[in-house]
């Protein structure tokens, strides 16, 4: 089994992950719906994971993939807690529009 990056090249993966990460940033800035903001954060996390796996293949080393496992565990915990917070915000104020959540403004 020869290295798959012989035919693709690590640069292409870097470009793909950079663009995917920027799409995530764009989603956080562009939308007001808090759930879509969460989805954009997931996209950003996935871009980084993909780059980890690409470099793990580049160095022929398993450590990058171990790191991806840990970041997946953190992402799962983050989504569970975040969505619970969103549900309780929705119960209290009836909306999840991030522009309306400014009670701390004083």
């Amino acid at each position: 089994m020869n290295n798959i990056l012989n035919q693709i090249g690590i640069e292409n993966y870097i470009f793909l992950c950079v663009i995917l990460f920027c799409i995530g940033v764009f989603g956080v800035l562009y939308r007001r719906n808090a759930i879509i903001v969460f989805m954009s954060i997931e996209i950003m996390l996935n871009a980084v994971n993909l780059l980890f796996v690409a470099f793990s293949t580049y160095h022929q080393d398993a450590q990058g993939q171990i790191f991806v496992f840990f970041s997946m565990a953190v992402a799962a915990a983050e989504v569970a807690v975040g969505l619970a917070i969103l549900v309780s915000i929705f119960r209290n104020s009836g909306t999840i529009d991030v522009a309306n959540l400014k009670n701390l403004k004083g």
């Binding site: 798959i4 759930i35 989805m39 799962a76 549900v87």
Partner: protein
């Protein structure tokens, strides 16, 4: 062009297009569906790099668990109508400009730094099957592995506490 490169291009196009559609579609349920397609294409990328176990875990965790959580939350909040007010035009313009700028700067940094990409080595030994990953995970990364389980436990308790109905004060 080799067949692997064509596969990579198709998968990347699907990934980027569905990521954009996730952000631009009005209905949150459509966004969730597009996000599932995006995650599946990323799992395809993992398969392309021959990391089968990671691809399967990715499909189970992201497309299975996280997306079900998203869909249930959307249904719980009854958000599947398109009544979202847009941000003011200046903010949206700023978002688009900053998106282009971040992309431009990151890619230019990478190109201008002229990284030395060496030969793509092939050690020939297996490094991404379940057997090897399990050995590395339970030998070198034993302590972080246990901490991950504690993190998941704490997250579970926190979620249950947060979503419990508060008792009415008398």
């Amino acid at each position: 062009m080799s067949i692997v490169l064509i596969l990579f291009c198709v998968l990347s196009a699907v990934t980027l297009a569905t990521a954009f559609l996730t952000i631009f579609s009005k209905n949150p349920i459509h966004s969730a569906i597009y996000l599932v397609i995006c995650f599946f294409s990323i799992a395809g990328h993992y398969l392309l790099m021959n990391s089968q176990f990671l691809a399967i875990v990715h499909v189970i965790v992201y497309s299975g668990a996280i997306m079900i959580l998203f869909l249930f939350t959307i249904m719980l909040m009854n958000l599947n109508k398109e009544n979202e007010v847009h941000k003011p035009r200046i903010t949206r313009l700023g978002a688009i400009v900053s998106f282009c700028l971040i992309c431009f700067v990151l890619i230019l940094i990478f190109i201008n730094s002229n990284p030395i990409v060496g030969e793509y080595i092939t050690t020939g030994e297996d490094f991404q099957s379940i057997k090897v990953l399990g050995k590395v995970l339970l030998n070198e990364y034993m302590v972080p592995f246990e901490y991950a389980s504690i993190l998941l436990l704490v997250a579970m308790i926190g979620t249950v506490l947060l979503s419990k109905k508060e008792k009415l004060e008398k």
